[in-house]
Structures are given as C-alpha cells and as structure tokens.
Symmetry: C2
Amino acid sequence: MRKLEERILKDGKVFKGNVLKVDSFLNHQLDVGLLSDIGKELKRLYNDCDITKVLTIEASGIGVGCMVAQFFDCPLLFAKKTKTINIKGDVYKSQVESFTHQCVYDIIVSKDFITSDDTVLIVDDFLAKGNALNGLIDIVNQAGAKLAGCGIAIEKGFQGGGDKLREQGIRVESMAIIDKMDDATGEIVFR
Amino acid sequence: MRKLEERILKDGKVFKGNVLKVDSFLNHQLDVGLLSDIGKELKRLYNDCDITKVLTIEASGIGVGCMVAQFFDCPLLFAKKTKTINIKGDVYKSQVESFTHQCVYDIIVSKDFITSDDTVLIVDDFLAKGNALNGLIDIVNQAGAKLAGCGIAIEKGFQGGGDKLREQGIRVESMAIIDKMDDATGEIVFR
C-alpha cells in the first residue's frame, strides 16, 4: 500500500538490531485514518472469504484489528499475553517468543469466542520472524476454525517469517514489505 | 446510552469483588459496531471542544479509543504500562494502582506526541476508583495540554471514582453508570 510505504519513509526510524520505530502512527500514537485505509484494503483482498472474526494480539494489534474488523462487520478478538499459569475458565493457549522483549510468554483466547464455525482473519501491526502469528495460527487450529489468512501492516521481509508462512500455504497479505533497512544510513527498501 | 445498558444486562456477568465481566463485547472480544456507537455519542457530547487528541491506556482502552478517535478525525495516543524504571527517550510518566491486578505500575507517554497545543479527550473502557484516569490526567497536566474531559464506556458509579473527578470540576461522560450490582442475584442497577 503506497500510502503506508510513504508514511514509513517519512516518519519511520531505523535503529540497531533490526528495529523500525513507527510509534508516531502505528504503535503508540495511532493514525486511525491510515489504519482505516488498511482495513479497506484488507476487505478488498479478503472480500470473498466470509470472515466471521478478526483475531489479533494485545496491545499494538488492537488498533489496526479494530479498524479492520469494522470493514468485515464482525467482532475483533484479541489474544491476551500472560505469565500466569493457572487461568480461570476455559481457554486456548499457545506460546510466543518475543522479538522485542526477548522472552517467552503465553497467549490465551477464551474458548467462548472462537469455534469451528468461524472463518478467521489474523491481523497484526508487525510481522518479523512470525512468532506471534504462529501462536495465533496455533489457537485457530486448536479451535478447529478455518484460517482465511493473515493481514499485516508492516512485514520485515528480511527476517523471513512471512515467507516461511507462505511456503506452508498460508495466505499472508502485508501492506508494506521491507526487504532491507540500514540503521547507519536510515535507508529503507521495499519489496 | 441505552444500547450499551441493554448489552450489559444481556451479556455482562457479575462476580464477587465488584467484578463485571463484559469480555464478550468490550475487553477480549470487541463489538466494533457498539464501540463505533460510543464514538458517535462522544462526538456529539464533545463536538464543540476542538479535540486534537484522544488519550487512553493499553490494552483494553485501545479498541474504544480508536473508534472514538475516528469521529474526531484525530490520532489516538495510548499510554504504555511498564515496570521498567529506565525508559529510553523523553517521556511523561505517572503511577497507577491497578484494581484488577492489585499492583502499582508506571504509565508512560512520549513527549513527542502530546504538547501544550493539544486539547485532549481521555477515553477508557472502565472507570471504577479512577486510578487509571488520574494517571492519564496527570500526564495531560504535565504536558500543559488542555483537558476537555473524559469519555468512559462503563462507570462503576458505586466505586466513587467518577463522582470524585466531577467534584474537581472535570467533565466525565459515561455511556453507562452502574449504581449497584449484586453477584448473588446478578442484578445490575443503572443510575
């Protein structure tokens, strides 16, 4: 999506360790107009899929998830991160390794809100190694729901997570895919 | 807002310790249509206030915050919860005592995204004792920004936080105010 690429070039900042800071529009301050455009584009791409639920992960997935869900006229469900081992109630659980925080945490989704009748679109702000997505896909599979695919704002293509998922036959639509970025020069190259 | 009250009566569950579980539409699974109606109503109420920024707190404030912000055509900014003491970059910081998790945590907002030129509407899913709101108001004051008021989905009126804020002259608009709830009978009484 050209508009997102232009915004990344304008306001994104590249830091050491493959970090792209986009907190002025995507994950601290949110440009809801831009997120709405992402929702519109994902609706176009997944229009024939009869999506019944958009699934994301707290916290920074919730914004884009909400704006996407309203185009599909379906609820947004967000997985909660937890360090608690004993969860009250009946939940699906998976494990995610965090690239940003360098730790492993559990993600949980209540069994009440995802069933084998659902067709799910997974949405997130970032895709790097694919750890969060793999956890969410695991939960969709545990529920016996149908996975339509994934809709991502920014994919860091050079970290390989997106292509690994595509090789498994999973549909991944990213609004911007970065193939190269350089913290010394600030250069960002899109696929 | 009648529609929200009806939904609380239909799907809300009262538990011991003044807990109202509304995770089927407000803070795990989100009914984005309902959140959009809340946005529309807050736009009506704060229409004359020239809001330049909607401020909330992660995670469950982000959904309603996004849907509200799009009606004001302004960004959503969400405060991050952190246990980290040394924060990189220049941030406003305040402390919040959590009713749900019974702990104290820091909340932070980057100084880049809130300034004395801003007129801020604070939005959150719940208002109980007002701890989270007080932290957010503290940050608005630190930034020298103007506070238009607060927009809340569900206020637990019997816990007094909302009325304490109103006594201080702060405008608080809640879409549903619960004056009484009983975990034995499941009864919920609105103001």
